[in-house]
């Protein structure tokens, strides 16, 4: 089994369908507006995995991402009245998550960590989630994984953010554009540019023929 068969290209992983207007979501939003916490829990549980991936794309660490998701959930709970279209809850919620994660990334602690050698996350090896799909890990050499991680993390944030959001495979380009505050065409260009830079740097590092 080749490596290409095990992975999906990022550009094709971006969701292309329009979000469906689920009446259940509308009902849950209405219940949550009346103060029903259980309804709100059901409402966010279906989008929590995507929300955590969004936050992780912004902050880079799982613990910070989960804290950002919690903050965003509380903020969404408080601001449910501001949601004009209950059927658009998912995009609205993910945008709040993204903003909270960006705020956390810009926080003073993150700023200080940039100058603290002991806590620089960029130098640490990536913590891959342990899954049962082990063959691809076997095929991907450890050196190549580390090199890709370093190259991705060295990207400018304007390129890295949409690239990682697209890599999650949860969002349409329109949603990514709404989150990062850029036009759709710009987002598409940034994703392609990020990929081009990553590949170029890997080739310079001698990873043109991964085995």
């Amino acid at each position: 089994m080749s490596l290409a068969e095990l992975t999906l290209p990022i550009l094709s992983a971006v969701v292309a369908d329009e979000p469906s207007r689920d009446p259940e979501v509308v009902r849950l939003v209405s219940l949550a507006r009346t103060g029903d916490r259980a309804a709100f829990g059901q409402l966010i549980e279906g989008h929590l995995a995507a929300a955590r991936r969004v936050a992780l794309a912004a902050v880079g660490q799982q613990s910070d991402a989960d804290e950002a998701v919690q903050e965003a959930s509380v903020a969404a709970w408080k601001r449910l009245e501001a949601l004009n279209d209950p059927a658009a809850f998912r995009g609205w919620f993910l945008r709040i998550v993204w903003r909270k994660a960006i705020d956390r990334r810009r926080s003073l602690r993150s700023w200080l960590q940039r100058f603290t050698p002991s806590t620089t996350g960029d130098q640490e090896p990536i913590e891959f989630v342990s899954t049962n799909a082990a063959p691809d890990q076997v095929l991907l050499s450890h050196e190549l994984q580390g090199a890709i991680v370093q190259v991705v993390r060295s990207l400018p944030r304007k390129l890295r953010d949409p690239f990682l959001l697209a890599a999650s495979g949860d969002h349409r380009y329109e949603e990514i554009a709404a989150m990062v505050g850029a036009p759709v065409g710009t987002v598409k260009w940034r994703v392609a540019e990020a990929r081009r830079i990553i590949r170029l740097k890997l080739e310079h590092l001698g990873f043109g023929d991964p085995r």
Partner: protein
């Protein structure tokens, strides 16, 4: 070459996807979030400050429009107002400045408080409680006597005798030789 590039793209996709992969603990996190949710505020709670401000303004307007106008104003004292009163009550702009048309808004000013009380005092007013004095209508000269006033004595100044005058004013005296 193309196969290598495809493999590199696939490796990039794979690593990028795993960079944003999260462990499946959504249920626990959901419960944690639900426990941390605060009480929802009322939908119109944000209107409360606006209503308070509006009510304060309305109350002030009602109090101002229904205030007791018979009470004398205390902001200006009668002594400070008195110099304006004769002019304000008697002045005619056409007399003072011929050719000017009187304005409709020019009206004699009413004093804020009575300038002088004409009725009897009903309470003790320490400033005005002196016994009235009968005015003196005419001065009678019959009781005056010319003898009572002694004529002033004549003033005679004493003679001034000058015995010696210096040769020059301000010059020191000459020593005796």
């Amino acid at each position: 070459m193309n196969r290598d590039v495809d493999r590199l793209d696939a490796a990039i996709d794979h690593v990028a996807k795993r960079l944003v992969a999260v462990p499946g603990r959504e249920a626990d996190l959901t419960q944690q979030i639900i426990r941390a949710l605060p009480d929802r505020s009322s939908r119109h709670r944000w209107l409360i400050p606006q209503f308070v401000a509006l009510g304060t303004i309305l109350a002030a307007v009602v109090l101002w429009t229904t205030r007791d106008r018979s009470m004398p104003a205390t902001a200006m004292s009668s002594s400070a107002f008195m110099p304006m009163a004769p002019f304000a009550t008697t002045a005619n702009p056409q007399l003072l400045w011929p050719g000017t048309q009187p304005s409709e808004r020019l009206e004699p000013l009413d004093p804020l408080e009575p300038l002088e009380r004409t009725d009897g005092l009903t309470s003790v007013d320490f400033d005005r409680a002196l016994t009235p004095i009968t005015p003196m209508n005419a001065l009678s000269l019959s009781e005056l006597s010319l003898i009572a006033i002694a004529p002033p004595a004549s003033i005679e100044p004493a003679a001034i005798e000058i015995t010696e005058m210096p040769a020059m004013a301000g010059a020191p005296p000459r020593p005796e030789e």
